[in-house]
């Protein structure tokens, strides 16, 4: 039963990781970021319960998706600055 549950977590993590990467390419970085973060948490839970290859793949893809989306969002921060947003700063 426990194994089935962790398998479900691994599949969910894998799907979320893939979707996060796809969302990054279609310009929905914020949504992709949220999905990637959920994917990481589920991936870690799956790895801790039952460290299968699928759990590892889910975790890795979620990390890649989150990093890609975060990179795009940080790029947006610079763009907003260019547009003259006075509040844009990284401190």
């Amino acid at each position: 039963m426990e194994e089935k549950k962790s398998n479900g977590l691994a599949i969910a993590s894998l799907v979320l990781g893939i979707v996060a990467i796809l969302f990054n390419f279609i310009g929905l970085g914020i949504v992709g970021l949220v999905l990637g973060i959920v994917g990481i948490v589920l991936g870690v839970m799956a790895k801790k319960k039952n460290p299968t290859g699928m759990a590892t793949a889910g975790l890795v893809l979620s990390i890649i998706g989150t990093v890609l989306c975060a990179l795009i969002l940080i790029a947006c921060a610079a763009c907003v600055g260019a547009a003259g947003c006075a509040s844009t700063s990284l401190y």
Partner: protein, 269 residues
């Protein structure tokens, strides 16, 4: 200075790339070097880092929102609520918010999977100044976190920055803070074995960085920041961080103070 880098015809922000390089280097050092002193599995350190990064992102953004509430109210009347929220969401981050969020992330991980919070803290804290130092190089590339107008030694002038004022000599804030953070990292590295098993490393970091940040804030040039009673938000947090650091550095005494507070809370509950 160099806000974007062109890779296969696509532009990537240097700030993000440098930050992720810093995080990768810091993670490797924490997993490979510091974990072995704290009797903790490398897997746990890696997962805790992931939780810390999630907390870091949320905390840094949340504090950025909180310090910009007056601007948000003003801006939402001009360009609408959702436009303001979108602008703020892609706007900026506050380091101290990230630090608090990161610690919370590690705490949640330690509670969820029953791993020692102390061991995780002692493994991860020493690499924070190193990651921060590399991150400040990213700030230099993007032109954010710039210093005040200054004509002395080492002044830097941006010519096509998106964030910093162009063609004005500025105090090299990013470089100075990067050097300070790197020195703090070296100090923590040298004293690490002496303070093994205690929160003194965490305390030393809090004291050193708190004092550094409090001082450097006076030389910052980015004006739109929360100022309360003539001190910036980061300076107020620096004061709190230094006090926490001193308590932790007091060693046994410090632990006694913390455990007394804990015991009092327990007895009240």
């Amino acid at each position: 200075m160099l806000p974007f880098i062109n890779v296969f015809g696509k532009e990537f922000p240097m700030y993000g790339i440098v930050i992720f390089i810093g995080l990768a280097i810091g993670s490797v050092i924490a997993i490979q070097y510091f974990s072995k002193f704290n009797n903790i599995k490398k897997d746990d350190v890696l997962y805790a880092i992931l939780y810390a990064l999630i907390g870091l992102g949320i905390g840094a953004k949340l504090l950025y929102f909180l310090t910009n509430i007056p601007f948000m109210i003003e801006s939402s009347q001009e360009i609408g609520f959702w436009n303001t929220i979108t602008q703020m969401f892609t706007g900026g981050f506050v380091f101290y918010g990230g630090l608090i969020g990161g610690v919370l992330g590690v705490y949640i991980y330690s509670k969820q999977f029953k791993v020692s919070f102390k061991s995780l803290c002692l493994t991860l804290f020493p690499v924070i100044p190193l990651v921060h130092a590399i991150g400040r190089i990213g700030c230099l590339c993007a032109g954010c976190c710039y210093g005040m107008e200054y004509n002395g030694f080492g002044a830097i002038t941006f010519h096509n920055s998106l964030l910093a004022p162009n063609n004005v000599p500025l105090f090299p804030m990013q470089i100075v803070e990067a050097i300070c953070n790197f020195i703090i990292f070296l100090i923590l590295l040298v004293t690490y074995k002496r303070f093994l098993g205690t929160y003194k490393t965490v305390g030393l970091y809090c004291v050193l960085y708190g004092i550094t940040r409090f001082t450097l804030e006076f030389f910052r040039g980015d004006l739109i920041r929360g100022i309360y009673f003539s001190l910036s938000t980061s300076q107020w947090i620096s004061i709190v961080i230094v006090i926490i650091g001193v308590i932790l550095l007091c060693g046994q005494k410090g632990h006694t103070i913390l455990s007394t507070i804990k015991n009092k809370k327990k007895s009240k509950a």
